[in-house]
Symmetry: C2
Subunit: 314 residues, 2 copies
């Protein structure tokens, strides 16, 4: 049997068609339009196009999984709110399902990406995985004991909104000191700018002559070039990232945690110092069975593959 997964992004409606092992047999992508009806149309088109690209008839497709960047009611197939798509109270599940004559299942985009990585990426052969994405925010999803873990209300794994510095930086969620406020690319950029403001002599100013030129890569590049101020920014970032990862390990003890997103492209320059802190602080540091930390293997296809397989892992 075959499964279609759709990753509803702010820029593109990306589709993938997979078999039950998560093998990607075809892909398709359509620019995301404005308006609920147009979005539903685009999903239908993307689904038809991906089946065509894969050479699979729609009658051989079991279901469509929709990865949604927002809040939704999975039972009703209702999108409560997806800010980046301008959707509010849209019954996307039934709108798409009726036209394709297929069951449509909604899932959170971070959970879908975690499931993709679990089935077809770094998680292959493991029983549990937590996938952490370091982007504008810090997203996370978990597969525990072989099943997608969503909590009793489908709202679990908001790990970015775990406070690690009580009373610290204001987070969009209303709390202060959330992991996301420090460990996201946004948090890293904020820390870099703070350091630049305090240190006009830093080589950070050569890498980024103005604040709008600062990216998550800037402090790593400047640290690599020997700038002490940048090195401090990176060291603090590593401490914050490791702090949240150890919290997740001490609580969930998954076999593997994957890290994705722009910052994860630093690879060993990021993971080696993180691992050194884990080796010092983790509860299970002196035992044989420890959680592995790895960079995610899949790119954006994690979302479509995972969305497709949601019905099999709930």
């Amino acid at each position: 049997m075959h499964y279609i997964g759709i990753d509803l992004g702010g820029t593109n409606v990306a589709a993938g068609l997979v078999d039950k092992e998560g093998k990607l047999l075809g892909e398709a992508s359509i620019p995301t339009p404005q308006g609920a009806g147009a979005v539903a149309d685009a999903i239908v088109q993307a689904a038809q196009k991906v089946a065509e690209n894969a050479g699979i008839a729609m009658t051989e497709v079991e279901s469509v999984g929709l990865a949604v960047p927002g809040t939704f009611d999975p039972k009703m197939g209702l999108v409560y709110r997806a800010v980046n798509l301008g959707l509010e109270n849209v019954p996307l599940g039934s709108m798409v399902g009726q036209r394709l004559d297929l069951p449509v299942v909604l899932e959170n985009d971070a959970n879908a990406a975690a499931l993709g990585e679990f089935v077809a990426g770094a998680g292959r052969g493991h029983s549990s995985l937590v996938a952490v994405t370091l982007g504008t925010g810090v997203g996370a999803g978990a597969i525990l004991d072989g099943k997608l873990y969503v909590g009793f209300n489908y709202a679990a794994l908001e790990a970015g909104h775990m406070v690690i510095r009580r009373g610290g930086r204001q987070c969009n969620c209303g709390r202060k000191g959330c992991w996301e406020a420090y460990a996201s690319a946004t948090g890293l950029i904020a820390s870099t700018k703070e350091a630049m403001a305090r240190h006009p002599e830093s080589a950070l100013w050569e890498m980024a002559p103005s604040f709008d030129k600062v990216t998550g890569k800037t402090p790593f590049d400047a640290a690599q070039a020997g700038d002490r101020v940048a090195k401090n920014v990176v060291d603090e970032y590593v401490e914050d990232l490791a702090c949240g990862l150890i919290n997740l390990i001490n609580i969930l003890q998954p076999e593997i945690i994957t890290v994705s997103g722009g910052v994860s492209k630093q690879g060993e320059a990021l993971l080696a110092p993180v691992q050194a802190i884990l080796d010092r602080e983790e509860m299970t540091r002196s035992t044989a069975n420890r959680t592995q930390i790895q960079v995610a293997q899949l790119g954006s296809e994690a979302g479509t593959i995972g969305a497709a397989l949601v019905p099999l892992y709930r």
Copy 2:
């Protein structure tokens, strides 16, 4: 069928015999002796005695569950280390199992207590529960999607060792700023003494004329009596407790979290201000399905009931 649960404590070997719904049909308790052989003897005696007290023949007993205050290998039935009992590398499972001619299953004591509360306490009728104990440390156990959650290495739910104040108080685990360092009774007592040292005028000195008289109750009593210094200690304690609870909710979204241990006897004086913070900060604060916070319903029998039922919930 019937199940025996044994809670191996530093003071007593407590036993309970239950049916598969967790109904307690008999109890027994024996002072904890010194030495591995003597501990095994005491467990065998407690098991025989509880069956006798319940009027159930050992042939009608399915298994024995052992709640262990330490680290162990569940597959081998081997206790690696239980500091309070002076045990190290003791094959307690087989020592007890051979003599009783019954399968013996080992479980962490916090997990066993969580399972007891889930089946026979505040968790009845729910699909998931996290049980938090505020004692010398902060212990936790979780039942997720109806099953005891232990992680891939049986080391999960060390929620007390989640850092909420990075760089804060030194914790025994090696980290700084752990939830346990603030939210345990030990943490509350430490905060109270710090406040007393800074404020010789505080009424805390009337409640506890010397440091060794300070308990977890002292700051609550003094705050109730109108002492401002004590009120600040309690307010900070409530903030720290709520901070960790919200982290757990945002990550796990269980249907219910129970709080037990000496400090939980404050009841609404503790939970009402905690709830006010939850209402302000939780990710799901504006949704219909929110995690409930309650004081645990069971006392020490949670451990024996839970230990007995471990084989049914793994």
